[in-house]
Symmetry: C2
Subunit: 253 residues, 2 copies
């Protein structure tokens, strides 16, 4: 078999934290979560483990940095603007969408939400990593980044300032929960042909759900059919709109 990528030529660029994080993201995308090892990293960067440890404290920090880089790009850009290379450094301010009427702040929320959704689709490991990062390291950079980009749009909605935190939290939580679950791609595939593997997969789940015990799972069985033809992004956006509708109904009415 011997699938050797003969990338172990002499190193041309100097090692740097940025280059290490970049390589980590590539490895995660290519080989999945279990593919990111210091040995693989070491080979790809043509160096030794000690060198990596000089730039990065440990694996947890490396995963955090990889997550942060991808998230930064996602919230800055909006939905899949096809950035081929992931650049760890992102512009400070997101490009302004349509100059802001109060109503199109809702579109802003949708835009950021889709940006995160697409990022998770492109980088399936993000789903798990986001959960890890947000729950055991909320003082890090990842949470504020997401919070800020959603929150700005929320503050442009007409919602009393005292509710900003609650509303933003609800949106962020929905987005992360939904994006996470929908990012079910077979590991390794860079871009999945949208019609083929995916439809097959949904079919499998739908069938499995239809075969559940009728006494224990009446609802899930009843609804299994609806999963078959559905479009993930559409579904995801419908959920965002549901929350936005709740915001409108609850505040300023």
């Amino acid at each position: 078999m011997a699938t050797r990528t003969r990338r172990s030529q002499r190193r041309t660029q100097a090692l740097s934290r940025e280059r290490i994080v970049e390589a980590a993201v590539e490895l995660l995308d290519t080989a999945g979560e279990s593919g990111l090892t210091f040995r693989a990293l070491t080979e790809r960067l043509a160096t030794g483990p000690g060198a990596i440890y000089w730039h990065v404290a440990n694996k947890e920090e490396l995963l955090g940095a990889a997550t942060d880089a991808v998230v930064a790009a996602a919230v800055a850009i909006g939905p899949s603007a096809a950035t081929a290379t992931t650049s760890p450094a992102a512009p400070a301010t997101p490009p302004a969408e349509e100059a802001g009427a109060a109503g199109s702040a809702q579109d802003g929320v949708r835009l950021v939400a889709l940006g995160l959704f697409d990022a998770i689709v492109r980088h399936p490991w993000l789903a798990t990593q986001l959960a890890t990062q947000l729950s055991r390291n909320p003082w890090g950079t990842v949470t504020p980044r997401i919070f800020e980009s959603i929150g700005r749009r929320v503050s442009a909605l007409d919602v009393p300032e005292s509710s900003w935190f609650t509303v933003t939290s609800a949106l962020v939580h929905y987005i992360l929960g939904a994006a996470g679950q929908n990012a079910v791609n077979k590991a390794g595939a860079r871009t999945l042909a949208p019609g083929v593997d995916r439809a097959e997969f949904l079919d499998t789940v739908s069938t499995a759900w239809e075969e559940l015990d009728p006494d224990e799972y009446p609802f899930t069985r009843a609804v299994a059919e609806q999963i078959r033809g559905h479009d993930d992004r559409e579904q995801f956006l419908a959920g965002v709109d549901l929350v936005l509708a709740g915001v409108t109904a609850t505040h300023h009415r």
Copy 2:
């Protein structure tokens, strides 16, 4: 130091998948995600690794079973009914809440949501594990369990059947996202005195957020103060109500 729990007496019960899962949950609760190793399990159960592998295919399956056991108990019971011992096997049908008027289906949703929330607080490893389980194994038992218990209440709301899937998904996604992020307990503490460690922690986050760059993070800084005194459960429920309000506003109105 030699902190030996001298639990390695001769085994009294026979080994079984159930007992292994139970021990795994205890280990996860006590020592965190990194504390669950086959060696620790082996010592606690007074056996060898081979014996465990006879009952369980691998670590991934073990984690899945542990997650499933805890989730099953959570959705069956509702908010923290203080089950001291986690019983992997759960009753088939959840105990009926107040006999169902259409309006109290909303209370049903709140009840299940709080049940999951509390479960994650009691078992912080659930947050990460749920994300893993749901995203790379949706044909497992965990997803249908959660889906069913929320979905039943949704179908008792007056929402057209064609929207059941969308609405249930949105609720489940919010619940998992929110519960996940809020489950920030210091690892190891079984029950945390609610007023002490937690307030200190929120204080730290709030302060950190106030010190962010004013140009990049105006919103997060503005809202940092609101995090200080807030009650997680209250916040969580407010989000559930926001989604429910959205459902009411969008459907059958």
